[in-house]
């Protein structure tokens, strides 16, 4: 989906032309206004955002901002109950690895899987199949736990240095874009 960037570029070009033609228009170079850009990028879906991160260094930096990915996550999942983006959630997610990682490991593959199911079964498929934030976080925490490794213990039997976490394999192999 290269539409957003294209649109943005086109807008800029249009505005440049317009500026020359009609002095009423003001020029807003999007790259000068990082927060605005971040706000815009936060409305993309995950894949598009990842692609947007390949445009230039600025966009890449913005594309790694936790806030941006947080917005993406919340847009994609069903959040039960009130406290959507409470500070508590933020710190927990940050501790577990961050929203970007959350999306990459749990939400993204889950959405893909559900889309596949919907494709196969047709749009009128049974009950609302969506991913809930709590479920995604549970899976995320299990994955984080699996990566923790041996901890204090084992001197004699050193398994692999980095135990390969496998509890999320059922979601399919996520592509490493880090």
């Amino acid at each position: 989906m290269r539409r957003p960037e294209e649109e943005e570029e086109e807008e800029e070009e249009e505005e440049e032309e317009e500026e020359r033609s009609s002095p009423g228009w003001r020029r807003i170079p999007i790259n000068d206004n990082a927060d605005l850009l971040a706000e815009i990028l936060g409305r993309l879906d995950g894949r598009s955002l990842a692609v947007a991160g390949c445009v230039c260094r600025l966009w890449s930096a913005l594309g790694r901002r936790e806030a941006v990915w947080e917005a993406v996550c919340y847009r994609q999942v069903a959040v039960a109950g009130a406290s959507a983006a409470s500070g508590g959630t933020r710190s927990v997610v940050a501790a577990l690895g961050g929203y970007r990682r959350l999306y990459r490991l749990c939400i993204g593959p889950a959405l893909d899987r559900l889309a596949g199911v919907r494709r196969r079964q047709g749009p009128a498929a049974s009950a609302a199949r969506h991913v809930s934030l709590s479920l995604a976080l549970s899976l995320f925490s299990i994955d984080c736990y699996e990566r923790l490794g041996g901890g204090g213990g084992r001197q004699q039997q050193q398994q692999q240095q980095q135990p390969r976490p496998t509890s999320l394999l059922f979601l399919g192999q996520p592509v490493d874009v880090s």
């Binding site: 927990v92 925490s141 736990y145 394999l169």
Partner: protein, 615 residues
């Protein structure tokens, strides 16, 4: 032989198993016979096997078959199988699929010349190896035009083994007619007019007339599937009757038949055959399954792979966590006792949920119980370490204690309760009592192996006054009744289980090596359970699964009442299943406040929650 039949409620989910049931038979019959209008009144089941018998004629045909059997059987005779050889060699049979006229044919042959008759065919039971020899021969006979030589199903209720009858599969146990029909017929088909049967002993029978076995066989896998199930059940019956010779032959036969199948059925049959062989030859692994020390780590590894490859354990964990979370609402100090700690995979999710709950996380204490380890490694402590690390990152006050116990019955309440205040800081904490939850995932059934253990454990649980007790167990009855009943029940259960593994694996089969390994290891995991259910007895048989209804009875008589699991858990479970590849086959059901997860129509695992009954 997997069929997609979510609607076949009668079957209870074992897809490939359903060949014998009427609905399926009907379909098969139609598919195979290319049935036209004139065959409408043909009996469907027999039609599926290639025989045309009009339903109206059934009783008649049955009677004639009986007569034929008696005629062939009546008689003495010595070693002279002249009649049968006569039937085999000299008579001409047309259209064996039309049983009615064909039997007439035989009867006329039998009645006309009264030569000395061969020794009586074995009684309609499977404990005579001669009929088994025949079965073996049948396997070896090559096909000419039709499919595999099918058994003639006894249209009237034969003295089938009670267990098989109870499960509603009326095709079983009817091999009684095998000895009558096929041998001369088959020999006719192949035109083995050669030598008269060698009749040295009374146990070698007429089938030897058709004996020179041509190497085999194009056997229709569906036919073979039915025969395989047949053979498995017959072997179980033979084992129950302690008929070693028969069971020995049958076990070998099962192996042969299993090789002709593919996929889940072959694996299930393989494991069951191995378990039966172990039972017959008494080559049991040391101790019960998993009780010998050097297999504890192996067990844990298998458990991990099972966890990853299919949703049952995840469902168990998430549902139990949800129940515990709801029970802990508003408590500032919580204590969870886990009866089967293993790798502690259940608890990160609960920790995270507690951290995120409105009002902030409580002070969390976890007591993990596990079996003794062979080497001096302290697996429980390491798991505790990892959980503590996780808890620290998400800022939950976490305390851990591990207990090593060979059996849960060794636990006493004081062990679980004590040390309330060791690490606590601040007097205000002491005022509020801890909220306790007890969690048992697939652990309680093992206690049934020793009488009194379960009662003691439940008393201990009651003594710690938990807010909630979550119990997850396999939904099957592998503990009551005779060996044969247990075997049949286990066959059904594990074949459904393997089907579900296959279904999930096939969808996720992108030849992911880890996925493939998970699948294999999960099968080994289940295979060990199968071996325990079938081959062990007494205190060694620890896989004593019971149904939800039975557990309900046990819990209520121990002083607990059911705490219904809320709809949140149900929704979460449904969402979880949607994420599993091949998740179309999985079904979550709510049953009187408990959740069950199953494959198609057969529930396989049940999660329930209990609290101490008031008064």
């Amino acid at each position: 032989m997997k069929r997609e039949h979510p609607g076949s409620g009668v079957l209870g989910g074992g897809d490939w198993y359903g060949g014998a049931v009427e609905g399926e038979g009907q379909e098969k019959g139609k598919a195979m016979m290319g049935v036209g209008a004139e065959d409408e009144d043909v009996d469907e089941l027999l039609a599926a096997l290639g025989y045309k018998v009009r339903s109206s004629d059934m009783a008649d045909v049955a009677q004639k078959l009986e007569q034929a059997e008696m005629a062939m059987g009546n008689g003495i005779a010595a070693s002279d199988d002249a009649l049968l050889s006569h039937l085999a060699a000299d008579t001409v049979h047309y259209n064996p699929s039309d049983i009615s006229t064909w039997v007439d044919n035989i009867l006329s042959e039998l009645n006309a010349p009264p030569p000395p008759l061969p020794p009586p065919p074995p009684p309609p039971r499977f404990d005579d190896s001669s009929s088994l020899d025949r079965q073996n021969r049948l396997l070896e006979l090559p096909l000419v035009t039709r499919r595999a030589p099918a058994e003639v199903y006894d249209p009237k209720p034969a003295p089938a083994p009670p267990a098989a009858r109870a499960t509603g599969r009326f095709a079983f146990g009817s091999d009684s007619q095998l000895d009558v029909a096929p041998s001369p017929r088959d020999s006719k088909r192949i035109k083995f007019c050669s030598s008269p049967p060698s009749s040295s002993s009374s146990t070698t029978d007429a089938a030897t007339s058709a004996a020179s076995p041509l190497p085999v066989v194009v056997v229709d896998p569906q036919e073979a599937g039915i025969r395989l199930v047949h053979a498995l059940l017959a072997c179980a019956e033979a084992v129950q009757q302690e008929n070693l010779k028969a069971s020995d032959t049958l076990v070998k036969q099962i192996s042969v038949l299993a090789a002709s199948q593919g996929g889940a059925m072959r694996k299930v049959a393989g494991y069951f055959a191995e378990a039966l062989a172990r039972r017959i030859y008494r080559r049991l692994p040391r101790g019960g399954a998993g009780s010998s020390f050097d297999s504890v780590a192996f067990d844990d590894m298998l458990h991990m792979h099972f966890y990853e490859s299919c949703p049952y354990l995840k469902f168990a964990h998430f549902t139990a966590n949800q129940a515990i979370l709801e029970a802990f609402a508003g408590c500032r100090r919580v204590h969870v006792i886990d009866f089967g700690m293993r790798q502690g995979l259940q608890w990160p999710a609960l920790l995270q949920a507690l951290a995120l709950r409105p009002g902030g996380p409580p002070s969390f204490r976890l007591t993990g119980i596990g079996p003794p380890q062979p080497d001096n490694s302290d697996a429980l402590q390491e798991v505790g370490w990892k959980l503590a690390q996780l808890a620290e990152t998400i800022r939950v006050d976490f305390h851990y204690r591990g207990f090593v116990a060979t059996s849960l019955a060794d636990l006493e309440p004081y062990m679980l309760l004590g040390q309330d205040t060791d690490d606590r800081v601040g007097a205000d904490d002491v005022d509020e009592p801890e909220a306790v939850a007890v969690n048992s995932v697939l652990e309680l059934h093992q206690l049934l192996a020793r009488p009194g253990s379960l009662e003691k454990v439940l008393r201990t649980v009651r003594a710690v006054r938990p807010r909630i007790v979550t119990v997850v167990e396999q939904e099957a009855n592998h503990n009551a009744g005779t060996f044969q009943e247990r075997f049949t029940e286990a066959l059904h259960y594990y074949s459904t289980m393997f089907d579900s593994l296959e279904g999930g694996a096939a969808a996720a089969a992108a030849a992911d090596s880890a996925g493939g390994r998970d699948l294999t290891m999960s099968e080994v995991y289940l295979g060990r359970q199968i071996c325990n259910v079938v081959a062990h007895e007494g205190a060694d048989r620890t896989e004593r699964h019971e149904t939800l209804a039975q557990w309900r009875g046990r819990m209520t008589s121990a002083g607990f009442e059911s705490a219904p699991i809320g709809s949140n858990a149900f929704k979460q479970a449904s969402m979880l299943l949607a994420l599993f590849a091949g998740g179309d086959g999985y079904r979550v059901e709510e049953r009187e406040g408990c959740l069950t997860l199953g494959w198609h129509t057969r529930p396989l695992i049940a999660a329930s929650a209990w609290r101490v009954a008031a008064g």
